[in-house]
Amino acid sequence: MIAVRNLLRRRLRSLFALLQIAVAIAAFVSIVGVTKGLRGQFYRLGEVFANDLVVQAGGAPSPIFSSVTREEAAKIEAVEGVASVSLMRLHALRLPQIKQPVILLAMDPGSELMARHEVTLGRALRADDTTQILVGDVMAKDLEIDLSSLTPEGLSGPPPELKVTGGKVYQVVGVFRSPLSEVRFLSGSGVMNLQALLDEANGQAHMLFAHRKPGGRAESPAEVREAIAASKALAPALNAAVPHLKADTIEGFLGGFKQAELVERFAIAVLFLAALVSGIGVANTMLMSVFDRTREIGLLRAVGWSRWRIVSMIEAEGVILSVAGGILGVPIGLLLIWASGQLVQLGWLSVELDPSLYVQAVLASTVIGLIGSAYPALRASYLEPTEALRYE
């Protein structure tokens, strides 16, 4: 095939262009895979929390900047339509064995939120627990915690200990399965007794969940929509009960998660830049190739090749180069995801790599090749054979 042989004539130049495209496609696969995974996890939360309202301080960009007290929780619970409330505080632990912090969700042992965390090994938390914690199955696995003393019936010996940076020691008394097994970050965290933290934090939790239907879970997209609409209708009453707090549905809460939104926008900008740079790389490579082969192109035109045939030849070279770069970029992207997994919070890196993503990656590289080689191809096709044959 002439197109492939033409690319092999300038191997180094073709290789650099190919690597440029591979990097762009690697960025595409890793960023799209991760953002899709993250968004997928967030929106699957709707199935569990559609019947709930998330309440935090109005204007807080994220829960850690919010505060809610037990008195305020009682006022919310008294609103008609609210069956119960679950207070929650987020607590970060630093462990000597990993660089990233581990998040503990502090909740009341008897709360609806705690009931959604099914204990599979060891025992549930009790009201008098202080340094006793439960860990998610992902966290237990990733931290390689020895669970031999935890049985489905309870504890068969002293619980394993988790030593945090600074010297404090927690006892792992149980392992829980997250309310949604697909949402890995819920299982990548731990759970502890809220009161043990409130004693240290002036009695302030970060947020609360107002439950309309305890145990209620929406099973289908239609049910999710219906439940969220009902929750939304309840929000004004909650806002009126404690004016400086703001109640929102899970949909509104996640939609307002500014960091996630910013990451997604930044990812789109990075992808656009990567595509642009690799497109310019293809254009540059093909244009140099056309200059080098001016006399050959003149000869081909002289022996009867049409302009369209010349365009097809140059475009084919650009597309072959780009698709090869795209195919190389996919495993590089997977390698990037693996490397990222070593740097982020346990369970937070969720990736959705369905086959359509690979198809999209190859399509994207084809488009980069087609657009990048369009100008060189047109330039080649408009060379006058008489002038091209004289080109020095």
Binding site: I2, R5, R9, L299, G304, W305, E384, T386
Partner: protein, 226 residues
């Protein structure tokens, strides 16, 4: 030999908005199946004339007809060139990364022949020009004479009716040049082609049925062989 294969009437070709006049009203006709030599000093307009006859360029004024078709009325000059005209240039213009047989088939690609058919034709022609053992060689592995012979084979792949050569012996030694011209002539006579050759060599020109002398863009002499 009476019908005209090539007919030029008052052909003018100017460049730079008329500032440079390469051809100034050239008229002649070349009968079918005959041979013609174009001679003249460097820069006189010989190559410009050959390009016009070969449908590589269009005249500023006047008309060029080949095989009874006025080129001004032909919509697809690419197809016309590919099917009816074979070119041999001073330089072989072979593509360095393609073996000789693939170089020879380049004019046949737009015709849609199968690869096997193209290879069969190309190998047959390369055998005729004495390159049977070189069909898979890249041009860089061949001598100057071999490359030019491959270029002659390339010009013949589509069985053209016109064979145009722009100083085909200009880049090879005298003996190799003679061999190439003999090949050129034997193919042309065997396939009943009309051929036009640009040359600086008066001896070679004298062998043609018609000699056209171009000086400063004007046809100063038309001499028919006795």
């Amino acid at each position: 030999m009476s019908e005209a294969a090539i007919e030029c009437k008052e052909v003018v070709r100017s460049y730079e908005g008329g500032l440079v006049q390469a051809l100034r009203g050239v008229s002649f006709s070349i009968p079918t199946q005959s041979s013609a030599a174009i001679v003249g000093p460097s820069g006189s307009g010989k190559s410009t004339l050959l390009h016009l006859i070969g449908a590589l360029d269009r005249p500023t004024s006047g008309s060029v007809s080949i095989l009874g078709q006025d080129l001004a009325r032909v919509t697809d000059l690419d197809a016309l060139r590919g099917r009816t005209i074979g070119f041999v240039f001073q330089l072989h213009h072979l593509i360095p990364n393609l073996p000789l047989w693939e170089n020879v088939t380049l004019p046949a690609l737009p015709l849609g022949l199968s690869r096997a058919e193209r290879k069969r034709k190309a190998c047959g022609l390369l055998e005729r020009v004495g390159l049977k053992e070189r069909v898979e060689f890249l041009p860089v592995k061949c001598s100057g004479g071999e490359r030019q012979r491959a270029a002659v084979a390339r010009a013949l792949i589509n069985d053209p009716q016109l064979l145009l050569a722009d100083e085909p012996t200009g880049s090879v030694d005298t003996e190799t040049g003679r061999q190439i011209l003999d090949l050129f002539e034997s193919f042309a006579e065997e396939r009943e082609m009309t051929r036009v050759l640009i040359t600086h060599n008066e001896q070679i020109a004298a062998e043609a049925d018609l000699t056209l002398r171009i000086v400063d863009g004007r046809l100063t002499e038309q001499r028919r062989k006795e």
